[in-house]
Symmetry: C2
Subunit: 517 residues, 2 copies
């Protein structure tokens, strides 16, 4: 695995030299915390919300949820749930559910190794992460291809450099040229060295989860006790709808709760296939699945930070395929926000699209997702940058398109400044009817950051744009990717921590290789 | 002008034959009324709204608005305003403004010649119109070109055929091959014959306005008294910011008010150039300009239907050019809705973009506009379909992109159906953990219209899409345009009205040609 370390080092050297070039940087907005300054939209009345909530509780009581995990079944049994060991089905009394979830915090902080990248999850805060775990990646020059560790590292660097990305929610592409058993070790090492943001440990195996927590701990240079009280990374727990948690997911949830680290309960329903064809029924089932997972986390370790996540959408009724960025996806997202707020839980939603190309469709589907976010107000927008093809591909250029769209959305979140100066009565009086403001006092004072400056959008008129060659948007995005990779700076990591991380990875790699044989 | 009539007739014949072909129609949603089922978003607190409102009143009192129209100045003088004849500046006391605008109705109906296309303007209703008055049009095969009457008629047919277009707000392209003086006669005749929806008369000249009202009256087969009580078309009154109404616009407003027909006061500010560089100041000035126009309409004829319109955005601070679909445009749109609601007036906003191509930018900028609409809740979304290049071009293919985006938005507006059946407890119980809903009772009953079916969006996976040739979105849109033009049916118009319209046009054409010499 020498090549991996080398990749990191040479990239470092390349950055050092390119930084000396005196080019104007890509004008991205600074890294900053985003908060919703206005009330969320509610699609459901209070009564309708309660009707769905009641149905969820009936489902939990009468139908139950299957947990394909002995650990989970015994936790539920100990908590007083009705557990059928044969069918692995857990039926939960409504009082047990509602009492259990009470201890879940309404907000919590994930501590990054760079404290300026800490993530507050809850309240009005919005955090954005990258597209997660696609098998493929693509860029204009290299085309669509199976992800490699080289692609993975490049994408990580972009995620680190993009200020609109608050933290990393999983591999930006699956590095498929690395052996499966030890892949997580290299992937985590790159997380911990190429970025200083919060990242994710995978619950696909107990090893992957524990190694992740351990490596995040080492990167911060703290002990496990501190780590428990100051969580540093999170994991994603998918349900296997309808009404089922797979073994590794249920076990992962328990392990994370034991270690005091946050989990996202991400319910992925495909309405019409794995959940009812009606949105009301789909919400009732989603809510039942989510509440069962939240309850489990609190039964294991009361106070475990847990996020109410939805990745539910509908299927294409003509083909049966799952489709994203649809009107139903938007409605489900906004309603899911209402449920999360009803239970006092942080809420996760997603920026997704079905399109195969970086075309108008990719943009309008992603915008459907982003504006569902603007209205439904998740605390966590997953898959924020790079997503194409229902998540099969991370596109380098789509990262830039998403960055532009999210930066624009973030400007809409800026509170309108209302005071004597901004109301501008004096300027209006000075200029008067028929005048202009191009050189007015207030304009001269404030023009520099009065309005959003785009990074990808072309504001040239048609004739000028044509004269300059009519460069298309994807080509422009490609150039920005390259410039950003040049601008990337590897965040400083104390050498002792780096050595400890390297040693940990080498030790674990040998252990795993030995056990695999 | 024989060619124009011929164009209409031959197209009719073509449609008759193509209708016999047994092809599946483009799956657009049916024509229907749209209503916002949830509360609008407020970016400003009540106090902030009042601060801006107060500033607007101070501007009206102390700075005033210039009206380059003797008719307007005398109306204001008669109403008791402070009128300076030399500077043509009108200063309005706050009580005079607030008393005057009280008579403007909070909602009204525009009656189309087909009563099923009547337009209710006000309350929670959303009406969508076409892109208006660009000099150019473009399509994939014909490229970008100066608009002709042939293009104009084709675009009108599309507007008639597109169910997402509730009415026509102006020429979909300027038919520049027709003589300027009589152009409006041919354009209106096409409105009145190729479509049965409400349309617009231009306030560019007194002739154009009066001919429009007269021709809309004839097309409905009613007398002028009925026309006054049941308005049938509307006109757009632009301000010439800052704080100025041009002569033809002010006169047009007065004429429309005299004839009992609705006007849109559409304030077009370019923040940083024709309005303050701050959004607070820009809103204060927009509001002052709008209130002055609304007051004038009510002074002329109390009860005149008038719409509070905003077409305000920012300039690109690097070039000075006007830019649309920006974060500031979104914020201004949402705030403008708050002002319209404060004064109990219907509200107009716009679907706009700056992009030169039908690319991701065109889609994300238009989506910014559409979602500002979803949050700010205008009653009237102007330029709904076809807009490119800041409005310089109507694109045939962009019509389809916009139709898809607006149809998706309209599905988001559908109230969630919550009842025993949709909550689906029985279905959830029947299917149980680990099952699927593909053949369940509820799915079989409801699958047909459970989810939105797109017309342009490709939901094929990457490999299938590639195998089928990877047809790009613009080509797909082009094919849909052609199919829709084939599907178009000319709405029936009673022969006697058609004859009267033809005779009116011929008489007026001669009069105008004679007077021009």
């Amino acid at each position: 695995m020498e090549t991996n370390k080398k990749e990191v080092e040479t990239s470092n050297e390349r950055n050092q030299s390119s930084k000396q070039a005196n080019r104007r940087k890509v004008p991205q907005l600074p890294y900053r915390n985003l908060d919703f300054p206005y009330a969320p939209t509610n699609l459901l009345s209070e009564e309708q919300l309660e009707e769905i909530h009641e149905t969820s509780l009936e489902v939990l009581e009468q139908v139950g949820v299957a947990f394909l995990s002995k650990r989970a079944l015994s936790v539920f049994k100990a908590a007083g749930a009705d557990v059928d060991e044969t069918t692995q089905r857990v039926r939960l009394d409504r009082n047990l559910v509602m009492e259990s979830i009470k201890t879940a915090p309404s907000s919590f902080t994930m501590t990054a190794r760079n404290p300026e990248r800490n993530v507050l999850m809850g309240g009005t805060r919005l955090n954005i992460s990258n597209a997660t775990t696609p098998p493929f990646c693509s860029d204009l020059k290299g085309g669509r291809r199976v992800g490699t560790f080289e692609d993975y590292c490049k994408l990580l660097k972009l995620c680190q450099h993009l200020n609109v990305v608050h933290f990393l929610y999983g591999y930006p592409v699956e590095p498929q040229d690395l052996p499966v058993e030890t892949r997580h070790l290299d992937a985590y090492l790159a997380y911990a060295t190429l970025t200083d943001k919060v990242w994710r440990a995978y619950a696909t195996s107990e090893d992957a989860l524990r190694d992740g927590v351990e490596m995040a701990r080492i990167a911060r240079g703290i002990d496990m006790e501190q780590m428990r009280g100051e969580p540093s990374l999170l994991s994603n727990i998918n349900t296997n709808s309808p009404l089922q948690y797979g073994g590794s997911m249920a076990d992962g949830l328990i392990t994370m709760a034991e270690l005091g680290q946050p989990v996202v309960i991400s319910v992925i329903e495909m309405a019409g296939a794995t959940s009812p064809v009606t949105l009301a029924g789909t919400m009732a089932q989603q809510n039942a699945e989510a509440l069962a997972g939240v309850a489990l986390s609190q039964m294991v370790n009361p106070g475990t930070p847990v996020i109410y996540g939805s990745f539910t959408s509908n299927i294409n009724m003509r083909s049966g395929s799952f489709v994203l960025g649809t009107p139903e996806f938007v409605q489900i997202g906004i309603m899911s926000g209402q449920f999360a707020r009803r239970y006092g839980l942080p809420f996760k939603f997603n920026n997704s699209c079905t399109s195969n190309a970086i075309d108008a469709q990719a943009a309008y589907e992603s915008q459907m997702s982003i504006w569902a976010c603007m209205m439904g107000q998740p605390n966590f927008l997953a898959h924020g940058v790079g997503w194409l093809e229902n998540g099969l591909t991370t596109s380098f250029e789509k990262m830039i398109v998403d960055c532009e769209m999210l930066q624009m959305a973030s400007r809409v979140l800026e509170p309108i400044e209302i005071n004597k100066e901004t109301l501008a009565f004096d300027d209006i009086k000075d200029v008067g009817p028929g005048g202009h403001y191009l050189g007015s006092k207030l304009t001269m004072k404030r023009f520099k950051d009065a309005f959003y400056e785009p990074l990808l959008t072309s504001w040239e008129n048609y004739v000028t744009w044509q004269k300059k060659g009519g460069v298309d948007l994807v080509t422009r995005a490609h150039d920005i990717v390259n410039q950003m990779l040049d601008e990337y700076e590897e965040p400083v990591l104390e050498p002792s921590r780096r050595e400890e991380l390297d040693a940990y990875v080498e030790r674990r790699r040998e252990e795993i290789q030995t056990s695999v044989g």
